[in-house]
């Protein structure tokens, strides 16, 4: 029997008020995305920022574009800070190549002296003065031995004319762009080396952002922007170039079906469907991610029905990892979140393609919302055997009081024609747009699942520069991964890993023989402590960044029997049984002839 009506009404009112109170409470509860208080982290992980101390004093300077874009110039010119880790001088130590974007501003090549310090040798190497009026602005670089001579060459992608440099040894680089087939104008923010046909010669994927018909310093129109915030296809053309091995490249985009006119910000090559051929995973601004599956080195097929099309966002980077320690590639694609306006959330996906499954979305909590996120990398920072994440954030840090999000919300609701015309956008003036956002260090908790806890503040990485690129490398051979961050309009930061714990590690430096010399596309699968972690040698990874090609594995305190399986792009597979004495060191592994 029901209680009397007045009592029922009172109960309903009480329930209603309780719901209001819950909404307020839940709306103000900590979400796991705030900076943890206190010093130190239970993992023993600790970083110190040491860039100047080790001789690195680099400030990125943004380019300036046509005055017709003055109203939104801060938005247009908010990219260009980039960092790549590569062995430029052949001493098997990781060096750093950092680009800037302003006219006349020099790029820097920081040679690792081997004693923990660096010296800038870019001018001597011929890699400094690449920001020349009329030739475009540097946006990033990607390193790989395209001619197979054992020396790492470099492709510098630009808004303008990209440049290919052959490493001639002795820290001398020669511009071999002319006649290479790569010299056309493109407004590119991403490129990567891969060997898509596994012929042992590196190929190159170069992605367009703004359409290549636009010279951003001499515009004929202000209709240069995307025509949709989530489904735009009016970006620059992406190109796949097949390397001939003689320093020239053939554009095989049409023949292979690897093209796209989305607004690509990042691309990474790896074998996602486990068929032995490197696929291309592409993150697009204003559009869905795209996965181009490599069909036998002949053609690429855009994967459909795997969960990417329906989640159109603002992809900024693709980081490659193995979040489950199951020998299964994962990607972390950063996006935009802003309270009140937009919660796109970052994507953390695990490939189940080999089981005819999707790219399974797992992002939650701290990994899902980092603000306006840009570059990110997977890496086992604390050496516990699980891959952690470093994510750099923040778009435009200008006025602390004035914000552009409200203006953005107006234009964001417009139809294509309005959005596409930069002249129709409200003026930026000195406003910030998701400015002063912290860099995040997300430590993986547990082998299964995809839970991360944020530890940036506790471990000493919580700067609020406008981070763009982040790369990981063991710069000093300490057995710990250091973090290098390129900030837009800000300094290059080097966070030295000073972790204090008993975790073990092992690393591999692969040298291809039948495969490309850089071993790009080679996989190392390490079995330890009942787990199986996959790492792939990539060229580009993240946003405008390249990690050290040496693969570093944390093993935890008691790894037990450790076995490494190396799968080379040539198809050769080799297994290394690692004894106790083999741990805690870098193994140079040559591909069997």
């Amino acid at each position: 029997m029901l209680p009397p009506l007045p009592l029922r009404r009172a109960l309903v009112r009480a329930g209603f008020l309780s719901l209001l109170a819950y909404a307020w409470y839940a709306g103000h509860a900590a979400s796991g995305v705030g900076a943890p208080a206190g010093n130190g982290d239970p993992s023993g992980l600790r970083f110190s920022e040491v860039a100047r101390e080790v001789g690195v004093d680099f400030l990125h300077r943004p380019t300036r574009v046509d005055p017709a874009l003055a109203n939104i110039a801060p938005h247009i010119t908010a990219v260009g800070a980039a960092v790549s880790v590569a062995d430029a001088d052949g001493d098997r130590l990781p060096d750093l190549y950092v680009v800037t974007s302003a006219d006349g501003a020099p790029n820097a090549l920081y040679r690792n002296r081997g004693d923990g310090s660096f010296e800038d040798v870019a001018r001597r190497a011929g890699l400094a003065d690449l920001n020349r009026a009329g030739e475009g602005a540097c946006m990033g670089s990607v390193w790989g031995d395209f001619d197979g001579d054992g020396r790492e060459d470099v492709f510098v992608y630009k808004w303008g004319r990209c440049q290919l440099f052959r490493n001639e040894g002795g820290l001398r680089f020669r511009d071999v762009s002319a006649g290479s087939g790569l010299e056309g104008w493109i407004n590119s923010n991403a490129a990567t080396w891969l060997d898509y046909d596994r012929d042992g010669v590196l190929d190159l994927y170069v992605a367009g952002y703004f359409h290549e018909q636009h010279d951003l310093w001499k515009l004929g129109t202000t209709r240069i922007m995307h025509d949709s915030f989530e489904f735009a296809t009016n970006g620059g053309n992406n190109h796949l170039y097949r390397g001939r091995g003689d320093g020239t490249f053939e554009d095989v985009t049409e023949r292979t079906g690897a093209g796209s006119t989305r607004w690509t910000y990042a691309a990474v090559a790896a074998d996602f469907d486990r068929d032995g051929w490197p696929d291309l995973y592409v993150a697009n601004d204003y559009g869905p991610e795209e996965l181009f599956l490599n069909r036998g080195g002949e053609r690429f097929e855009l994967a459909r029905g795997i969960g990417l099309e329906a989640e159109s966002k603002s992809g900024m980077c693709v980081a490659l990892g193995d979040v489950w320690n199951e020998g299964r590639p994962s990607v972390y694609v950063t996006n935009i979140s802003k309270a009140g306006y937009l919660f796109q959330g970052n994507n953390l996906r695990v490939s189940l393609l080999d089981r005819d499954g999707p790219m399974l979305q797992l992002a939650e909590g701290a990994a899902a919302d980092c603000g306006w996120a840009w570059g990110a990398q997977f890496g086992d920072l604390d050496g516990d055997g699980l891959q952690d994440l470093v994510v750099v954030n923040g778009f435009i840090s200008a006025s602390r009081e004035r914000d552009y999000w409200y203006q953005m919300s107006k234009i964001g609701l417009g139809t294509g024609g309005v959005i596409a015309d930069a002249a129709k956008w409200p003026a930026f003036e000195d406003r910030s747009l998701s400015g002063y956002e912290r860099t995040r260090v997300l430590l993986k908790t547990g082998a299964r699942g995809a839970r991360f806890r944020e530890a940036g503040g506790a471990v000493g990485i919580d700067d609020v520069y406008d981070g763009r690129a982040v790369a990981l490398a063991d710069l000093s051979g300490s057995g710990r991964l250091d973090v290098i961050v390129a900030n837009q309009g800000g300094p290059l930061l080097i966070y030295r890993n000073e972790a204090r714990n008993d975790n073990r590690w092992v690393a591999f430096d692969l040298i291809g023989t039948k495969s490309n010399r850089s071993a790009i596309g080679a996989e190392v699968e390490l079995e330890f402590a009942g787990q199986r972690q996959l790492q792939v040698v990539t060229a580009a990874c993240g946003f405008a960044s390249q990690n050290d090609h040496r693969r570093h594995f944390g093993l935890g305190r008691e790894p037990g029997a450790v076995r490494a399986t190396v799968r080379w792009p040539s198809g050769v597979e080799q297994t290394l049984e690692l004894a106790e004495a083999d741990l805690g060191r870098l193994h140079v592994v040559r591909e069997p002839e």
Binding site: Y22, W24, S31, E230, E364, G417, W425
Partner: protein, 286 residues
């Protein structure tokens, strides 16, 4: 030998009897279903069927329970359905959060039974659910802004079909009065603020406004009686929205609270006041 035309017609009529009659309410229901289906098909607007099921389920369940508990009768569920779809399409919480869908749905329907005056509920349910969450949990909730593709064709179809339906429902004057007021005020704001006119007009083509003008402003249960009253109400809503926008353009203290969804919050404030005043006026007249 074919059947005579009259027999064919009667068979067709018998078949059509299974379909709901094209009443204004049914047409509105059909329109929001169309937006949902097309939005999901072209743009993946639902963002997961769990959200749809939870929101719709909570709306329908709350309506059933409260109606049986307080009124002792089975409710019409169309309103709960429209509310559930609106909330699913518009609500965009922080990644991974599910509670905003459940709470917004329960509050939206709950407000119909709790916040009443002279036998009428005062807020459009979707508007109430969205506004309350925006005000109480701004760090966790955003509204859909541009997820329908910023597409001219899609927008045109929704506006065309929407206008046909509100015309049929004799509510087109509300939609048009609001659209005209917004446009006029957008042009004025453009002059005052110095932003391009199209940037100020742009929001009208977004899905937030489509759901506002076709489902919230024209909700027959929460609009004032009479054309003049209805038009006056939406003009005031447009004026308040313009004030909120100007306050944000001039970066006045506290204005940021209204920045993510000025029209939704303007309706949240003006709608119930207008209705309460109208109900009072009618009661006095009687």
């Amino acid at each position: 030998m074919s059947a005579p035309p009259s027999a064919v017609a009667s068979v067709a009529a018998a078949r059509l009897r299974w379909l709901p009659r094209p009443t204004p309410k049914n047409l509105i229901t059909a329109l929001i279903t169309l937006i949902l289906v097309v939005g999901e098909w072209r743009y993946g607007v639902v963002g997961g069927y769990t959200k749809l099921a939870l929101t719709l389920g909570t709306c329908v369940g709350t309506e059933l329970v409260l109606s049986l508990l307080l009124l002792g009768r089975m409710p019409q569920l169309q309103s709960a359905y429209v509310t559930g779809i609106s909330l699913t399409v518009l609500l965009r919480p922080q990644a991974g959060l599910v509670w905003p869908f459940v709470v917004a749905a329960a509050l939206a329907i709950g407000a119909k039974y709790v916040l009443r005056a002279r036998g009428r509920h005062l807020w459009n349910p979707s508007n109430f659910g969205l506004s309350v969450l925006l005000l109480l949990a701004p760090a966790k909730v955003a509204l859909l802004s541009h997820e329908l593709g910023n597409d001219v064709l899609g927008n045109s179809v929704i506006w065309f079909v929407g206008l046909l339906i509100v015309w049929q429902a004799r509510m087109a004057h509300i939609t048009l009065a609001y659209a005209a007021s917004f446009s006029l005020l957008a042009v004025l704001r453009s002059f005052v603020v110095g932003t391009p006119v199209l940037a100020e007009l742009a929001p009208l083509t977004g899905p937030m406004y489509q759901l506002l003008v076709f489902f919230m402003l024209t909700d027959p249960r929460t609009t004032a009686a009479g054309r003049r009253g209805q038009i006056a109400t939406v003009v005031v809503i447009a004026l308040l929205e313009a004030a909120m926008r100007l306050a944000n353009d001039f970066e006045l203290p506290g204005a940021a609270v209204f920045a993510p969804a000025p029209p939704i919050l303007a309706l949240f404030i003006v709608g119930p006041i207008a209705l309460a005043l109208d109900l009072r006026r009618r009661a006095c007249a009687q």
